[in-house]
């Protein structure tokens, strides 16, 4: 045939699906993506600020892990984000688009705060803490259960539903912030039980955040085992991968959806508990601080593997902390650090495309199967 003529007319490139890559090649692509991201960030930094990019990166590292205090802060932030990520993971693994983690965390925190305020001076600590824990878990679980029930019964859209539940949670917190505000009418709850520390999670060995970190570490391992080795975890995978297969082998899909969202919401409720009782000792509309959404990215990047999620959370928290430091040291506004974070995450997510697809250029298979 008229090969030469044909090749002129063929489009410059087209995209084809790749066969499976060996694991090291996939990691090579990911590492190359991070490297490329750092180069692009360096160029952007020089162009926008004129600063030496190496110095900027050094500041970043210093901001994240420069002092012992910073390391503790990093670990605390890591634990909080990881906890919410653990919450969304079972739902996302089941392909249930739970973007309501934000609300589930808030409502869990709300329940915690409520118990602290209402029972703080009535119950002894040995009783108060269990009450708080149960309340936060139940609150989160209910917030997860409601959209799941509607999905199972009437096949409602869980994305919209969970999103709406976020707004309800935010407004509830706003309402009670006014109700319980100190001083009255300020709309701020302020530190709860600042004098008695009633309902605060204890600090272990003088480290305020150690208990949060330990709880999340245990949760991570438990979630890993649950997803990988339990029958429930297996059912979640099957439902997520193919609802048809689940039906074919007789899995009750509705039951799995409801059960999984209960667990998902409950863990988000625990995150709310850790944030209110273990960290801030107060609640505001911003207590969840967008973690419910960042968690989705963490979970996807780690392919729903809780152990990998430790790494992806670390990456994101590290970038956030480092970026804040850059803004303060170089007197740039906070948006600049977000630009840097955005570029890096863009490259990492983009690398997945090159792992799954290959770009074929014109004439690259000359004389192939013709």
């Amino acid at each position: 045939m008229k090969q030469a003529e044909r090749h002129i007319r063929e489009p410059l490139f087209h995209i084809a699906k790749r066969d499976a890559l060996v694991w090291w090649a996939a990691w090579l692509i990911r590492i190359a993506a991070v490297a490329a991201a750092l180069v692009v960030c360096a160029v952007v930094t020089v162009m926008m600020t004129g600063e030496n990019p190496i110095k900027v990166y050094a500041t970043m590292i210093d901001g994240a892990i420069g002092t012992e205090r910073r390391i503790w802060n990093l670990l605390q932030s890591l634990a909080m984000l990881l906890c919410v990520s653990l919450g969304v993971t079972p739902a996302f693994k089941m392909r249930f688009w739970n973007i309501g983690a934000e609300g589930q965390v808030l409502i869990g925190g709300m329940a915690t705060a409520a118990c602290m305020i209402l029972f703080g001076d009535k119950l002894p600590t040995v009783l108060l803490l269990p009450v708080i824990i149960v309340a936060s878990i139940v609150a989160g679980a209910v917030w997860g259960l409601i959209p799941a029930l509607f999905k199972a019964k009437w096949n409602t859209n869980e994305t919209l539903f969970t999103l709406m539940m976020n707004y309800i949670a935010i407004q509830l917190v706003s309402y009670f912030s006014l109700q319980w505000s100190v001083p009255k009418g300020s709309g701020q709850i302020g530190i709860i039980n600042g004098d008695t520390h009633a309902g605060w999670l204890p600090s272990l060995g003088g480290h305020d955040y150690l208990i949060n970190i330990l709880i999340v570490a245990v949760l991570t391992v438990v979630m890993y085992i649950y997803l990988k080795y339990s029958k429930h975890g297996y059912e979640i995978s099957v439902v997520g991968e193919s609802e048809n297969t689940a039906r074919y082998i007789g899995i009750n899909v509705k039951k799995v959806i409801i059960r999984t969202m209960l667990i998902s919401g409950a863990i988000c409720g625990i995150a709310g508990l850790l944030l209110v009782s273990g960290t801030d000792h107060t609640i505001t509309r911003d207590t969840a601080a967008g973690r419910g959404f960042t968690a989705i990215m963490v979970s996807w990047l780690a392919k729903f593997n809780p152990l990998f999620m430790v790494l992806t959370t670390l990456l994101i928290v590290f970038l956030q902390k480092g970026a804040i430091e850059i803004s303060t040291i170089f007197g740039l506004n906070a948006s600049f650090s977000e630009i840097i974070t955005g570029i890096i995450i863009f490259f990492i997510i983009g690398s997945e495309f090159f792992i799954n697809y290959t770009v074929k250029f014109r004439g690259s298979d000359k004389g192939g199967k013709a």
């Binding site: 499976a20 297969t245 039906r247 082998i249 199967k369």
Partner: protein
């Protein structure tokens, strides 16, 4: 110029991974001509048309329009060359009116003017004899009306090469006649029309020429006037090949599964199973033949507890207890709890039978993971089973922990069939178990089915390759449009007989409809 065909394909090849959908296909259509593209399901008709319409890009080969080579990269390119495709599944916005759908996405010089558009639609309708209300919303329309909108949509855009993908599949006989009248008028108006179909009588009554595809290969083009049903059938199904599949006499056959008068509607309210009755006996292979989509899937799924049926009975004679159980509307789990050992190899291997992203071991567990009270999974036995299947069926895989989607089609099927047989079933249903498999893997599957038969299993085999059906099965039932159109003895049935019965029902229906 006028001697050139409106559109000509030369040596078009398209592969998807290792599957060859089209290999070196040559076609041409002249203006003022209707060309039928005929072929069984999976013969590559739709893929070929999608390449003309800009949805796929061919790996090799050339496309000429009016004698000039063109490159069609997107549906927009196709439109700019005057090509319009009417897909099997309509692409319309439900809440918009007909006129809105027709002008949707169109870049006109002037501002959008619904009244002017309506006038143009009316003009087109009158020219070709469409009946349409431009202001009617799509969701209020019948299937046939929606199709009309699709056709007007491409005409409105000035298409003079029209491709229709199985346009009659969703139409009643009367609607089909109307459509054909319109198509003839368009042909007389000088348009080039390609119609994809597998209904022989439609081909003969409508088209000027027929191009036949078989398993992705281009078989040839014939003038309709100089051909007949049997010649076309032969081109479509091919000459008989001797397969040498051993076929033993059924031993001590007993009625295992009795299906009585089952009826089933799909979501659109179309009857997909129409009064189906048959008996599957132990120790024999019962073949089910028919054009794909004639109700085979719904039938098997109804038996497996995955498809609700409107009426009828599915009776299982339990050989252990001697009891008769009605499986109708039971869930797969309930069926298993009744002690019914029913195995099912579904048509959609990776979408239903297996989980593509899970490894072989985890796929083995699908049937058995519930066993035991422990909340944790026991992977030991599934691992043994996986190793056993890999060894005995010669599954080519790096290891038992490789995700099954990475295996080739044949190996995927060995894993699936292996698992289904491992639970020592009394009824084994297999839908298109050798589709897409190479010869060797196919024989592995035939032998497995045969061994099950010799073990006294009632095997139900849904197939598309008529050679295989006539060599493997003891009895064959043929279904067309959800109805049983014939029951044949597998030892005496011929391909032509089956082929005729496969297409017979729609012809009958048509005559019945007109009467």
């Amino acid at each position: 110029m006028s001697n050139c065909p409106a559109i000509e394909l030369r040596n078009i090849t398209k592969t998807f991974g290792s599957v060859v959908a089209n290999s070196n296909v040559n076609l041409s259509v002249n203006r003022g001509e209707i060309l039928s593209v005929l072929g069984e399901n999976g013969s590559g008709k739709t893929t070929l048309m999608n390449m003309i319409a800009g949805i796929y890009f061919p790996d090799h080969g050339q496309i000429f329009i009016d004698g000039e080579e063109v490159v069609i990269r997107s549906p927009r390119d196709a439109f700019s060359h005057g090509i319009g495709m009417i897909h099997q599944h309509f692409k319309l916005v439900d809440v918009f009116s007909a006129a809105e759908n027709i002008v949707l996405g169109l870049k006109e010089e002037e501002h959008y003017n619904i009244r002017r558009s309506a006038a143009k639609i009316k003009e087109i309708s009158e020219q070709y004899g469409f009946e349409i209300d431009p202001n009617k919303k799509i969701y209020e329309m019948s299937v046939s009306e929606k199709q009309t909108v699709e056709i007007i949509k491409v005409l409105y855009r000035g298409a003079d090469i029209l491709i229709l993908d199985e346009p009659t599949a969703v139409l009643t006989p009367q609607e089909t006649q109307k459509l054909f009248a319109v198509l003839r008028r368009m042909r007389d108006d000088g348009k080039a029309i390609i119609i994809i179909t597998h209904k022989l009588h439609e081909v003969l009554s409508l088209s000027d020429r027929v191009a036949v595809l078989r398993k992705g290969e281009y078989i040839g083009t014939v003038e309709t006037a100089s051909t007949n049903e049997s010649e076309l059938t032969e081109m479509m199904v091919g000459k008989k090949i001797s397969l040498d599949i051993e076929r033993t006499e059924p031993e001590n056959p007993q009625e295992r599964l009795v299906v009585k008068n089952i009826n089933c509607m799909n979501r659109e309210g179309v009857k997909v199973l129409d009064n189906i009755s048959f008996t599957a006996k132990s120790g024999e292979i019962l073949g089910i033949a028919g054009i794909a989509g004639s109700g085979q899937r719904e039938l098997l799924e109804a038996i497996a507890g995955l498809q609700h049926i409107d009426s009828g009975e599915i009776i299982y004679n339990n050989p252990k207890t001697g009891k008769q159980d009605d499986l109708r509307d039971k869930t797969p789990l309930q069926i298993r709890e009744l002690g019914v050992r029913l195995s099912f190899v579904p048509e959609d291997r990776l979408g239903m039978g297996l989980v593509g992203n899970m490894d072989i071991i985890d796929n083995m567990m699908l049937r058995s993971y519930r066993k035991g009270k422990s909340p944790f999974l026991q992977r030991k036995k599934p691992k043994h089973l996986a190793d056993e299947i890999i060894e005995q069926l010669e599954v080519v895989t790096p290891s038992a922990t490789t995700p099954v989607r990475r295996l080739s089609g044949g190996n995927v099927q060995k894993v699936l069939v292996g698992r289904e047989i491992a639970s020592s079933p009394t009824v084994l249903m297999a839908a298109y178990p050798v589709r897409g498999l190479d010869i060797n893997s196919s024989y592995v599957i035939y032998n497995l089915l045969n061994r099950q038969k010799q073990n006294g299993v009632a095997v139900i085999f849904v197939g598309e390759d008529l050679d295989v059906l006539t060599e493997l099965c003891d009895r064959i039932i043929v279904i067309g449009s959800g109805r049983i159109t014939g029951t044949l003895d597998g030892r005496t049935a011929t391909k032509e007989q089956i082929g005729y019965l496969m297409t017979a029902s729609s012809a009958e229906e048509k005559e019945g409809g007109e009467a």
